[in-house]
Symmetry: C2
Subunit: 277 residues, 2 copies
C-alpha cells in the first residue's frame, strides 16, 4: 500500500493504478462504516484509493476542527489490512496553498438542514471533493448514507459540472444498540453514549408511526420531539421530514420521505437519518 | 468534422479522438484570432475540439446576450476549412438543464476591472469553462490575450481545483489599424469603427511613455485619459495599470505591468490590453 502526501506524487501514482479506480474520501479516524465503503470499492474496481484529510474549510470557526480525532497509524493499519492500493494523506498546505481562492458552491439544497446549521460547510465539502475527484480521477466514489445531505450536494455538483465519477451510496453502519457509526462518537462519555441511542430510537419511532398509517409530519415530529426531550443529555438542533431529493419539508409523508436529525448530546453534535419507504 | 449538439454525444465522441486533445472554447462569430488558436492547437495536439456556445450566465441582465452575433453556418465552414476534428455546439438547455444550481467562483482577482464592471461575469466564465473542460477533457486549452483577466481567472481555477488542462495563451490579433479583433466589432458603424482605434493608440502611448522613462502610473493614466477624451464617440469605463498577475493597481510601472482599457464606443463596450515589458 502506497502512502502519498503530495498532490503531484498522487497524480503520478494515479496513472500507474489499474483501471477502473474506486475512491473513498474520508476524514480519517476510521470505523467499520468506512471499511464497508472500501470493501465495496474493491469489489467494483481494479484499484482503490482512500484519502484521509480533515478538511479545514468545512468546519465553522466554533466547530471541532482542532479536536477532531486523528490516528494516522491506526488508520493506515486498517487500510493496509483491507487491501487498499494507495492512501492520499495530504497536509492542508498541499490542498490549500497560500493564495488559494476558488470555491465550488451548490445552491438550493445547501440552504437547508446542515447548510443552515453549519454555514459554509457545504462549500468546503463541494470544493474539497471537486479537488479530490480531479486529483484521483475515480470511476466511482463511495459515501455513507449517514451524511444524506452531503451525498445530494456531491451528486448535484457532479451532475451540474459534468464530472466523471459515479457516486455510490452505502448504508449507514450501526453499533449493536443502533447508534450510527461516527468518528465523533469518540467524544461521548459513558452516560452520553447511552443517551445517544435516542437518535436511532427516534428514527425507528418515525418509521413505526408511518407503518401504522400516520402521514401527518407534524404528528411524527411531535412524537420525536417528545422522545428526544425526555432524554436529559439531548438537545434538538433540528428534526426534519423532507423530500429525499429536494430536502423540502413535507406536510404529509410521501413514499420517499427522509427523516433527518441533528441532536446535541452534551457538547457533541450528532446526525442520523432514515428514508421512510 | 463532427458537429455535436449534446453533452452525452460529445462525451462518447471524445473517447474516439486521438490523444492528446486540444480545445478552443469560443462564443462563435469567429474571426482570425479564434483561427490562430485553432491552428496552434492543431500544431500541439493530435485532435482539436472547438466549442461554440454563447454562454448566457456570463452576460449581465443589461448586456448584449440577445444581440450577440451568431452565424453558425459561417463558423462551421471556417472550422471545417481549418481542419478541426469536432465542434461542440450545445443549446443552452444542454449546458444548463432545469434546476441547474452549481457555481464555480474565483475570488480575489475577479473583484477588479471586468469583475467590477460586469458583476457575475466571471462566475459564468469559470463555471462554463469548468463544465467544458470536464466534458472535453483536453490536454491543453487555448485562449487569446485580449481577455487578459479571463485568462488569469481560468488559470487560477485550474490550479486551485487541480484540473488537468494546460492553459495556452496566444497573442491578440489586430486589424491593420491596430483594433483588436473581436466579434463585437460588428456592432460598430463606420464612424465608431474609426473611433475604436483610440484603444490601441492609447496602449501604444502607454508603451511609448514607459520606454521614454515615465514610471508614474498617474502620469500615464492622465495621458491616456486625455487621448480617449479627445475622441467624441468614446467614453472611458476604466483605465487600469496593474500588476499582470494580481491585477492590483500600481503606483509605479513595474517590469510586468498590464495596461487594460474598457471603453464604450457609442453603445459598444470594447476592451484591450498590453503588457508593458
Amino acid at each position: 500500500m502506497r502512502v502519498i502526501k503530495t498532490v503531484s506524487e498522487m497524480q503520478v501514482a494515479r496513472h500507474s493504478l489499474a483501471e477502473p479506480v474506486g475512491f473513498v474520501p474520508t476524514m480519517g479516524y476510521l470505523h467499520a462504516g468506512h471499511i464497508s465503503l472500501v470493501k465495496q470499492s474493491e469489489k467494483d474496481n481494479a484499484a482503490t484509493v482512500v484519502s484521509i484529510f480533515v478538511n479545514p474549510t468545512q468546519f465553522g470557526p466554533d466547530e471541532d476542527f482542532g479536536e477532531y480525532p486523528r490516528d494516522e497509524q491506526r488508520d493506515l493499519a486498517m487500510l493496509e489490512k483491507a487491501g487498499v492500493d494507495a492512501v492520499f494523506l495530504p497536509p492542508p498546505s498541499e490542498m490549500y496553498p497560500d493564495g488559494f481562492s476558488v470555491l465550488v458552491e451548490v445552491e438550493g439544497i445547501t440552504e437547508r438542514l446542515e447548510g443552515t446549521a453549519r454555514p459554509g460547510h457545504f462549500k468546503g465539502v463541494a470544493t474539497v471533493c471537486n479537488k479530490l475527484f480531479n486529483i484521483i480521477e475515480p470511476a466511482k466514489a463511495y459515501f455513507g448514507q449517514k451524511d444524506a445531505q452531503q451525498i445530494l450536494v456531491i451528486k448535484k455538483m457532479v451532475t451540474d459540472l459534468n464530472m466523471n465519477p459515479e457516486i455510490v451510496v452505502m448504508p449507514t453502519l450501526r453499533e449493536t444498540d443502533g447508534l450510527a457509526m461516527s468518528s465523533r462518537n469518540l467524544y461521548l462519555n459513558p452516560d452520553e453514549r447511552k443517551a445517544a441511542t435516542v437518535l436511532y430510537r427516534s428514527l425507528l419511532k418515525a418509521k413505526e408511526m408511518k407503518q401504522a398509517g400516520e402521514h401527518d409530519t407534524e404528528a411524527i415530529r411531535g412524537a420525536l420531539t417528545g422522545l428526544i426531550q425526555a432524554e436529559p443529555l439531548a438537545q434538538i438542533d433540528y428534526i426534519s421530514i423532507a423530500d429525499s431529493t429536494t430536502l423540502k419539508e413535507l406536510g404529509n409523508v410521501s413514499s420517499q420521505a427522509l427523516v433527518s436529525l441533528a441532536v446535541r448530546i452534551g457538547k457533541t453534535r450528532l446526525i442520523d437519518n432514515l428514508v421512510l419507504t
